[in-house]
Subunit: 357 residues, 2 copies
């Protein structure tokens, strides 16, 4: 009988995957990281985030710091432009087929797998959400806004002018039963408030409104983002539900209900920013199928054990960390990446002990 | 030169500490767990939680499952009725003085330390919060309520009668600048809503109100707790700020402002439940001093590296996990417990490699 492998396959090179790979190497095991893109960093890099929430640290700098320990690390093998397409075997002895973009395939033997394939942003043109994202140039998403802020070029896409009034509409694609996403995406309140502050910093003459159901700046974000946004940067938070965006001449009209004043509202804006939530990425959905792990009703990967185990899946030896298991902030991803590395190593140790050579 | 120790000291036997100890043992290292109480389980056990948020799983059962892997485990040494009182040395070679309740002291040598000393509930009698907790028997906290629900004895403490109207007041000791706790405690919205459901289950005739600023049921809690509370259990959520509780005859009168209706409110209740937030436990404050790690402005232990590292402290080789670093839910605690075990093992491995025997 051949020896099972003690190598661990990490799928996805974002924050959770980087943290997991680092932990595996630090403990003397080998991590094989496959990433479909040609670089590490995951969504913060791919989407071009300007600054991280809540500390507003430069994203590029933070990612470079995060990535450094796994570059030129003998315990980490990086494979870019690669995905996993098939898996057979059991915990301690998986055979996984890796495929490059050019179609070249290779089978590798690993003892355990950690899926870290993250999320994608909700597409605001999908289904019942009708905020005119694909109709009006001046309706953008949190991600578009982030890119503009990073380029220090926060202007109206329609005419290049500096906006005088912009608003964020919260919970686009989250807390929405009509589209089936009942969950809260956790980070959009904080991200919107961070961007609201940055808009006020870059375009001090622009008034900024946030239409929200509940502002969810949990933990320290309350003090780090929410209070400064209101007090120092005079962002206007309006508890209200925006149901429609229409164009009127040169302006966008946001229609809805101001739930504090309990009356319909129709407010003119130069730009509308949709706070899009999280959905499972294509990679997450594909890996769930390749590795046969159960997905929850939102198609994120289901972890078992409730709050007592955030990284084990329905298949022994296959773990998941970060936003592929559901809405997660960066802290969640780095913590669960570390916890998953721990469980994956424990798994290969156990398999090596139990199976005779 | 003597060999540095590769044992790891885990301080605190709650969810984060249990998870850390388990991880350490699973990877072939030895965890020495010191716990000041005479049993494991931490705050969920000490405070007598009835059921866990959000899945309403029986707490005793969940804790037993969590604890089992570290009982009779050769990789885990449990020391009850014990605290750490002094520490000298450096990462890889710490000398820690442990003291039993009877005063007996012993020095041990460990390579790394993980502090998991958790939080305490805000004392609603302290400072400016004047909801009459120490004046009126029928004003209780989330923790008191949990105990009554566990005993299936949800009655008015003042007269033993079944209440007809009860309310929760959110953010007691959280999001409160007057007392200096600007942070959000993360879990109280979910816990209050869970208890509201349980009250409706145990006392179907009782109306339940929740006075809140923002309801923060992030992630899946939205669908698991918030929707059922509103729809199936008819809990009444009122966006409003309660400023005072006074007694009038047999009733408690909650005074404040209904911010949706924008008018003062004065509502009679049979019982008032204060949703008390998290503050650092005495153990957390004591351990910060013993190990010389920096505390943040709220006196929780400060982790360094922002979102990229949730468990490293200002002292190399000393890590922290769970609610001793700030408000945390159970998922946060189990994830960070695992991540801390990983970092602590990496630390002792590195020290063993670098220091010649």
């Amino acid at each position: 009988m051949r020896m099972p492998s003690s190598d661990i396959l990490v799928i996805g090179g974002g924050p959770a995957g980087i943290q997991a790979a680092r932990g595996i190497a630090d403990l003397g095991y080998k991590a094989i990281v496959v990433e479909k893109r040609d670089r590490l960093g995951g969504m913060p890099d791919e989407a071009g985030y300007a600054a991280l929430t809540p500390d507003m640290r430069d994203t590029g700098e933070a990612i470079a710091e995060m990535v450094a320990p796994i570059l030129d690390n003998p315990g980490v093998e990086l494979r870019f432009g690669t995905t996993a397409t098939a898996c057979t075997g059991v915990a301690g002895d998986f055979n996984v087929t890796l495929q490059k973009a050019d179609g070249a395939a290779e089978d590798i033997c690993v003892g355990s797998v950690i899926i870290c394939t993250g999320f994608k942003h909700f597409d605001p043109g999908r289904e019942t959400q009708q905020y005119g994202y694909y109709q009006y140039d001046d309706v953008i998403t949190l991600v578009d806004c982030e890119r503009m802020l990073k380029a220090k070029n926060f202007v109206r896409p329609s005419n290049g002018e500096v906006p005088e009034r912009v608003c964020f509409i919260q919970c686009v694609g989250s807390r929405d039963r009509q589209i089936g996403n009942e969950y809260c995406s956790k980070v959009c309140c904080g991200v919107a408030s961070k961007e609201a502050i940055e808009i006020r910093q870059q375009v001090p003459g622009c008034r900024v409104f946030v239409f929200y159901i509940d502002m969810r700046m949990y933990g320290y974000w309350e003090n780090e983002i929410y209070w400064p946004a209101q007090e120092k940067y005079k962002v206007n938070y309006v508890k209200g539900i925006a149901t429609e965006v229409v164009r009127k001449g040169d302006k966008l009209i946001v229609k809805g209900e101001d739930t504090t004043l309990r009356r319909p509202m129709e407010v003119p804006m130069d730009m509308v920013i949709l706070s899009v939530g999280m959905e499972p990425s294509e990679g997450t959905e594909a890996m769930a199928k390749v590795f046969g792990v159960k997905q929850n009703k939102y198609r994120f990967i289901e972890t078992i054990g409730g709050a007592l185990d955030t990284v084990s899946t329905t298949v022994s030896g296959i773990f998941a960390a970060g936003a592929c298991t559901g809405p997660a902030d960066l802290e969640d991803s780095t913590s669960s990446g570390g916890a998953a590395a721990m469980k994956a190593i424990a798994c290969v140790r156990k398999a090596n002990t139990q199976i005779p050579a």
